[in-house]
Amino acid sequence: MTLDLSVPLMNSLTLGCMYTLMALGLTMSYSVTKISNFAHGELVTLGGYITALSVNRGINLPISLVLAFIASALLAVAIDELVYKPLIKKGSRPLFLLVASIGAGLVVRYLMFIYADLRGVITIQARTSVEIIARIGRAALTTVHLWVFPITAVSVALLHLMFHHTKPGKALRAMADNEDLARVSGIRVYVLRRLMWVVAGGITGVAGGLWAVYSIVTPQTGWEALLRVFASSIIGGFVSFWGTIVGGITIGLAENIGISIMNEYFNVSTAYRPLISFVVIVLVFLFRPSGVAGIDVIGWIKEKMGRGE
């Protein structure tokens, strides 16, 4: 029997898009604040819970996703205002901020656990009607995909527009480059940081909401996804959105198609799925810490075609 890759391919793209959406916020917050935000996963979980709870109350999906956006944005801003900002003002080392983000993540995650346990919603999924629209091979294109793909594409496009063609976006890039220089140039650093956390947290919340439609959500969801989200950002070099997309899709492909091929030909158990992305990260970190950022594909092609300088 030949290996049918249509189902893994579909899963790769879906998961890849969702990891990308989750990782965009992480890339943004890392590049601007230089915090390795381990509380990022909790934004995903909160978005997922808000969406699932409100959809199951009968509110339609777009409004639920907006609610998820708002909730996660508020959480992100709250964590920044209560934890990161005071620490940065005290001049803490980046490592302390990382530890603080682990602490903040623990607090939020286990508060959600307590809430979920009290309400009896330790596992929850948004009850939406999933219809099959088209079939590609054995894989089915469902309504879930009609949400996931456009939202990812639109978010990336909007972020690109924002960061390259608006004033706050350009200021944020300046901050990412050199915060002190940005500050003396008259950029209001803390106002912009808040804006960044709203956008980063919100997008992550929407990603969590889509996850709730696609699969089940538990208070642990964000933490479990976090390592893959880090992987996506790291492959993208932690700086560029396009790199993050490449990273997210790469992780999606590696975890689905990669494991299918290895399962078929090398008899590797599919339980090793997460291993691929973790190994990828360790290797990227050790041998190319800048990720795919800085790889000049067009220049390389030109050189090969003999049209280079």
Partner: protein
Amino acid sequence: MFEAIGGYTPLITSFLVLFAIYLIMALSLNLEYGYSGIPNFGHVFFMSVGAYVSGNLTARILYKLSGSTVDFCSGQAASVRTAYASQHPGLSIALFILSLVIGAIVGGAFGYIGSYPGLRLKESFLAITLIFIGEIGRIIARNEKGLACGLTGLTGIANPFCWIDNVNLRSILYTIVVLSMAAATFIYVQKLSQSPFGRLLKAMGDDDLAAKVLGKRIPRAREAVMVIGSALAAIAGVLRTFYIQGVVADDFIPLITFTVLSMVILGGVANNLGVLLGTLVMTMIDHFLSPSFLSTIGFRVEFDITYVKYVITGLIMIFMLMVRPEGIIPEKPVKTPLLDISSSEEWEVEEELKL
């Protein structure tokens, strides 16, 4: 004598064993994170190495010797192993000591491997990488049947004192062993941190470039501290394995590292006495907020009480970093016995210069 406090013995011994194991973990993490500035957040992985080594060593030798033919991972084989060990006191103690030695060696070897990224990455990235390495280890262990019997875990690892009939006496003896191991670790780490090597670690943690400029071999020191810290963590893993008499891959989650980290941060970074205090406080929270303890005093809540423990852990980490990053007991100047700086003249000159 044992009958008099018999009812409370399990409560006290389980607390003390937990405390001692956490103390070894916290002291070794303090050596890496507190003194040397290496954020080894994959610390639990090195603990798990010790657990797998000791579990496999003991269980496989007992399995061979008892000559049982049933499946190695089955519960029946486990009870055969325990029964065999309880008839051979010398063997069970020998296996325990052998496990400690080999566990520490293998843990140190893994620490050496772990120092490869440790030499090449800056702190946040190193922390992430080490967390990932720990998770890779856990995923492999839960899927590889040969390592710890997969998801079910490896059981039937006989306690070194399983040949004693009196359960209380048995646990008291094991508690004494574990506590003395913890005390030995404390003395060792304390001596180490006050030695020239300890001062080198401290210099490295404060500013490794400056230490390098002064001609110190920073890569060697980083390797050494990772090896020592990981070997100690592996010993903690061995002690834990023999205490719960089993190894389950899913016990070694990053959350344990974070709990240990909160002990270091709470008590005092780069202060072993502080770490002792932090460990005591956190172990008390850990122990007295467990469902099994609360049910004995008749306290019940609607949700799983362990969640509260982690919320408190997180809050403590944030609170300490904000209010008192140096911990409850701050770091003290290292006392060097041979040279008393305070009486020398140079010191006074320096003081005057400050004014």
